[in-house]
Amino acid sequence: MKLHEYQAKRIFARYGVPIPAGEVANTAAQAREIAQRLGKPAVIKSQVLVGGRGKAGGIKVAKTPDEAETLADQILGMEIKGLKVKRVLVDEAADIQDEIYLGMIVDRERRRVAMMASSEGGVDIEEVAATHPDAIKTIYIDPFLGIKPYQAIAVASALGIPPDQTRAFTKIATGLYRAFIESDADLAEINPLAVTGGGQLLAVDGKMVLDDNALFRHPDLEEMRDLAEEAPAETEARINGLSYVKLDGEIGCMVNGAGLAMATMDIVKHFGGSPANFLDIGGGAKSDKVAAALRIILSDPNVKAVLFNIFGGITRCDEVARGILVALEEVKPAVPMVARLVGTNEAEGRAILAEAQMITATTLADAAQKAVAAAKAR
């Protein structure tokens, strides 16, 4: 789950990371009030869950409250990479002299949290990695010890952070690590960590992605979820415990198992079609889950055919077939459907589907080809 900049920064601040004074506004009038309260030039920052907000014109500096209102009015309602801006963060503008990058991710190979830092802040770390890999200092944090002061000092030393800022940097690095661990993050990033004219360190921008699997122990963070930023189909999938990713093709896929679901997308492509989605109904799915899955697939207007690929193991084919029937009752789809059910209770499953007008197949290759042909025929 991605967090908005203002949410990430508030979490960081709880762990002692200094952030600029600022508040969130839903209207231009609110933005004006906040700028007034700050009493200083302000940055108006669109809060949408995509990168490149600055380049898209979603971040502007206002010298006066009047200007803050005008700029907020421009930014609110703007569309950035398909996402409508519904709120802006109004932050006190910082006197930025230098920009540092400081980020943490899980390094899968080393099975450690990796802290990456670079004196080339303000740009994407991938860009720095590609152009100046030497500018990045990476340390790996022992899960039992946590980040130790000497590690933060080593990073500060490598980045050329002056001694009088090293203590502040150590506090920030330690705070960011604690925020990462205690929020169960997949990513936590301060970019830039600004060095101000006064020699202070300030987290001017923040980003955080949380581990969905750990949200059960963070009800407070789960509440930060911005449903408005999520496609309705994604929300429905999540609520129903389905893994769903929308793609831009025309063949809807309903599969049990993530690997098989990817392989199904791939084979559709292999035979000249284009998958409309990734959808894993998971192990042991019952009919209500299947029905929800079908509703989600058919809610995509691009879908010209649906391919069911079920390999019965824990998931019983008859259960899936029954779910399909329930869903068909409800949504009465106008597109052709190809079903391939094999494995546990496959005969029963096929018998149930015999009622419905469906194209059947036994191999995945056959099913994919039939789905592609059916979609092309429309």
């Binding site: 899968r108 997949d186 990817m262």
Partner: protein, 288 residues
Amino acid sequence: MSILVNKDTRLIVQGLTGREGKFHAEQMIAYGTHIVAGVTPGKGGESVLDVPIFNTVAEAVSATAANVSIIYVPARFAPDAILEAADAGVALVVCITEGVPVIDMITVRAYIDTTSTRLVGPNCPGVITPGEAKVGIMPGHIHMPGPVGIVSRSGTLTYEAVAALSEIGIGQSTVVGIGGDPVIGTKFIDVLEMFERDVETKHVVMIGEIGGNDEERAAEFIRQHMKTPVTGFIAGQTAPPGKRMGHAGAIISGGQGTAAEKIKALEAVGVPVAHHPGEIAEMVARRL
């Protein structure tokens, strides 16, 4: 021969008294697996499916000389269950549970590495040695004994490959689902090494997917250490970047972990990669 589990496997089921645990225990017993104990705190002294229940893994091990444990407890309890099994000296722990937080797995794995216990999973279908022991949730009946070792990050995709192989009369030595999470107990390389040492495994099928670089590291391992031929498959050629494809570990991030890179790495070391799952069995048949 085979790897990891066989007819000498004496299995503990952690979470046997739960719905899932009981359902799969029944299937495993039906397959012929020796389940010697169940563990559920507070239910010690009871029995389920004629299997005695103990309060702790240590008690179960000392009473039954169990050597393998399988875990079916909810994600929030799974890390503790793994640690408990390792502390009780169980040689192999198979964790089926899906949805264990990554941070927990970092800790668990760091601790497990200081013990002699091997962990498979979490978020995996388990391990089966056809005709000997099934320690997992895979449909047993599609398997048959034979010369092909399979290692995979995926569940149902593996069943596809197994079923197709069995259909044309090619059996499996052992099939290992290592799981789809970013941090897991056993990786491709570990299993490839075991297959390489196993005299009855004449061919290996390795089924990977997007995310991470374990397939690339496996390719390097194959180049340096393996004589046994390997056939590959990688799922997710059409997966978009930055999106988690069901498995927590199946994500292309920062342009890293694409299927194309993995296929390239495997082909570069002489591992042919199937275009779709249906091809896997055909390719193995041709090369065996």
